[in-house]
């Protein structure tokens, strides 16, 4: 009977494929081993840089991981994710990970990167530098320290002791009691962005006179930042400070150039120079933005901005210390515009800011190097007089591309003072005030506003500004364009894309991911648990078998205490 009916049922499935499909698919779905992800703990992780520049590949290739967490000191790391605190990670260990074919590396960074001790900071910066020198297949992630991450770290460290246990039995015990973690990053693999557009924002102030015949001063600052992890690159010193100075200079000079009242202050009633301000993109990638900008403007037949350039002033890292260095590729002639500007800088410093040390650093362009040292070299190559103003002594300083370069590392009052100094020097150049002694132009309503400087700095250094994350329509770029539009004329945003066939730079997606950590136990633990359960079940069985013993014992006690049953 039963079997006949079953046979009929099976015949039904044989006859029609869709029916069996509909019938079995839900069953397969239920049986399938993929269980819904019930997120245990989720935290943000920041992936290391990945980019192609001038044909070479840098940074880590992979992004998606699903593997067990291990201490970086454990012996077996193949296909596992090493978890380490910053101080544990050294280059030899990293290379060891690479040779072992480790799955991934998760570096736990201290929460406050600006309060590191000097040696810690140096360690981090040199690590960043070394990591970014080459390509690696091991995905490297950075996470900011949190209570939960510290717990994982401690557990993983303890789990490590199992590997070093003296006897096999102890190793087994420790691995059964250990708390393991499965680290999972899901989402899409990092992909190249071939259509990535870098934006340059330019604006100008025209002098009085026949515009084409006036020489031009170009003020340039690149707006992107770079650190080992794009999503952690806030770049407060390099180059939020330069941008803030540029914006403040634009604000001050726009008042001078448009407000007729300022002519009363100007004894010569002339503005001998045009001013061009440029916020260039891709500065950390061999100054791609300014490179393209120069090319475009040289090619342009009409309205050539770069026709008669007096000098190009690049601003980079101006947010701390009392030094101001003018980096040049070729020492400017004393009587040329560059020499005059340097002299003005010195004069203003002498009369108003005696604590500042102004110097000149001369470094020839090395055309053999793949990377240019400073932004002004882009202009110097094209035979323009150009120099970079910075508080740094050398372009080799790690400070310019580090995640330690955050808001707290920069002092807004230093930026304001430097802005004042540069503005005065520029004004002397523009109005040709050679022997004005301690004359100060930017006072009262024209003075540098500390609050404006600080607000800009907070905004710019509060957003990660790696080139990869600053798309041409991102909020920061739009805000900068608006700000330039407020002060300057002819504000334009020009976009540049890498060449399709021979791209100079390729950026990749995937700067920030969510990592899930699942608490897992090793397989030995399951076996151990199975043994315990078997023991428990055996006890239960014995108890049920011998239940009558308890039963009769209880009964006897009941009968002896109850007089009624005795009668019965």
């Amino acid at each position: 009977m039963w079997f006949d009916e079953l046979g009929e049922v099976f015949d039904m499935f044989k006859g029609s494929f869709p029916l069996s499909f509909l019938f079995f698919i839900p069953i397969f779905i239920i049986i399938s081993p993929v269980s819904p992800v019930n997120a245990a703990q989720e935290f943000a992780v920041y992936r290391m840089q990945q980019y192609d520049l001038q044909g070479s590949t840098f940074g880590c290739k992979n992004a998606i991981i699903n593997m067990e967490a291990r201490s970086i000191d454990s012996k077996m790391l193949t296909r596992r994710c090493a978890v380490a605190k910053l101080q544990d990670v050294t280059m030899p260990k990293y290379r060891d990970l690479m040779t072992q074919n480790a799955g991934a590396l998760l570096v736990i960074l201290p929460n406050n990167l600006t309060s590191l001790l000097p040696e810690e900071k140096q360690h981090l910066q040199s690590l960043e530098y070394e990591l970014m020198q080459e390509q690696s297949t091991v995905p490297v992630y950075f996470a900011l320290e949190s209570e939960y991450l510290t717990d994982i770290y401690v557990d993983v460290q303890e789990g490590n002791s199992g590997d070093n246990a003296p006897t096999a039995w102890e190793a087994l015990l420790s691995s059964a009691s250990a708390n393991g973690f499965q680290l999972v990053i899901s989402g899409s693999q990092a992909e190249a962005m071939p259509d990535f557009e870098i934006a340059n924002i330019q604006g100008r102030l025209s002098g009085y006179g026949i515009e084409e015949q006036l020489p031009t001063i170009v003020v340039v600052a690149h707006y992107d930042a770079k650190g080992v992890a794009p999503a952690l690159s806030f770049g407060a010193d390099s180059n939020a400070s330069g941008m803030v100075m540029l914006l403040e200079l634009a604000r001050l000079f726009s008042k001078l150039y448009t407000n007729s009242r300022t002519h009363a202050k100007n004894p010569f009633k002339i503005l001998e120079y045009n001013l061009v301000f440029l916020l260039s993109g891709g500065g950390k990638f061999n100054y791609q933005g300014s490179k393209r900008w120069i090319e475009d403007n040289f090619e342009a037949a009409e309205g050539n901005i770069l026709n008669d350039v007096a000098f190009v002033l690049c601003l980079d890292s101006l947010g701390s210390s009392n030094n101001l260095n003018l980096h040049v590729s070729k020492p400017p002639r004393e009587d040329g515009a560059g020499g005059q500007f340097f002299k003005h800088l010195g004069d203003v410093k002498e009369s108003h800011f005696p604590e500042v040390k102004v110097g000149m650093v001369h470094k020839k362009i090395n055309l053999g190097d793949e990377m240019l040292a400073w932004e002004h070299e882009r202009f110097s190559i094209k035979r323009m007089l150009a120099f970079t103003l910075s508080h740094l002594d050398t372009h080799k300083s790690f400070d310019r591309s580090s995640i330690t370069d955050q808001r707290k590392a920069v002092n807004p009052s230093v930026i304001a003072r430097n802005t004042q100094l540069v503005a005065e020097a520029l004004a002397r150049q523009i109005y040709n005030l050679t022997s004005q002694g301690s004359f100060q132009m930017f006072t009262d309503t024209l003075s540098v506003e500390d609050s404006v400087v600080e607000a800009w700095l907070n905004y710019l250094a509060g957003n990660p500004r790696a080139a990869q994350v600053l798309k041409s329509d991102s909020e920061v770029v739009m805000t900068l364009e608006q700000a330039m539009g407020q002060y300057l004329k002819d504000v334009r945003k020009t976009l540049l894309k890498a060449d399709k066939r021979d791209p100079e730079f390729i950026f990749y997606t995937g700067a920030e991911y969510q990592m899930n950590a699942y608490n897992v136990k090793p397989a030995v633990f399951d076996l151990f648990l199975a043994l315990c359960i078997a023991g428990y079940l055996a006890l239960t069985y014995l108890f049920a078998q011998k239940f009558h013993v308890i039963y009769y014992a209880l009964k006897r006690s009941v009968i002896s205490t109850s007089p009624k049953t005795k009668v019965n």
Binding site: A40, V184, Y518, D526, T540, A544, L554, N568
Partner: protein
């Protein structure tokens, strides 16, 4: 965790039921269909309870984590329907005297196990994340087996006419305790802050005490003294 872990949990949850079924003599009386009927009655009772709760008890907007004692108390009061359901099962389906409460309790507990425990285990114990709560859940199902059998025994005792008059208050008290067990557990969790393992232990102790007392009362009924199925 792995499928193996799921297997562990299922074994821990279900095997004691099989052992009790085999060893208590139910298997010899081929009481399987009776147990299934009791399970059906369980499902029907739960449906009635849900309808009642949804109709007459408004949802309270108590904040998560805080304890809404009156709401919980009312909800536990609805659990009295469970007792009525058990009583109906024993008076209608289950046949022979002392097997009655075994069948009713067993069927009731098994139905509850199948309905409320299997899906959480299936979804949870196979997940990547390891958590002790699935093992605890399996232990808890063992405890609830004893709990349901003893409740069935108490209901049966209550319906007996030859129960000693002096035992009646005890039976009623124990039934009340069993009924309001979830509430008591909740209060314990809030007030004492028991950890999950300690809570499990407390539940086990509480249940076994109730079970022992009811067993003793059962044995003190004169007609049960002689013909035991053990």
């Amino acid at each position: 965790m792995t499928f193996f872990h799921f297997g562990n949990c299922v074994a821990l949850a279900y095997v004691p039921y099989v052992i009790v079924y085999k060893c208590s003599g139910l298997a010899e009386y081929s009481a399987f269909w009776k147990c299934v009927q009791a399970g059906g009655a369980y499902l029907f009772t739960q449906l009635c309870k849900m309808l009642l709760l949804a109709t007459f008890f408004p949802t309270t907007d108590a904040a998560v984590g805080s304890l809404d004692i009156t709401g919980e108390f009312l909800k536990s009061t609805v659990d009295v329907i469970d007792l009525i359901g058990l009583h109906i099962v024993m008076s209608k389906f289950a046949g022979k005297g002392q097997l009655k409460f075994m069948i009713a309790g067993m069927g009731w507990a098994t139905a509850e196990l199948a309905v409320t425990r299997f899906i959480p285990l299936w979804m949870g114990a196979r997940g990547v994340e390891f958590d002790w709560k699935y093992i605890q859940m399996s232990f808890d199902s063992n405890i609830s087996l004893i709990h349901h059998i003893s409740v069935a025994m108490l209901v049966w005792l209550y319906s007996r006419s030859d129960l000693q008059r002096t035992s009646l208050p005890i039976v009623l008290t124990l039934l009340g305790l069993a009924c309001y067990r979830p509430l008591i557990v909740e209060i314990l969790m809030q007030a004492v802050g028991l950890g999950s393992w300690m809570l499990l232990l407390a539940k086990a102790g509480f249940t076994s005490v109730v079970a022992l007392i009811s067993l003793q009362m059962y044995l003190s009924i004169p007609s049960q003294g002689t013909n035991s199925y053990y």
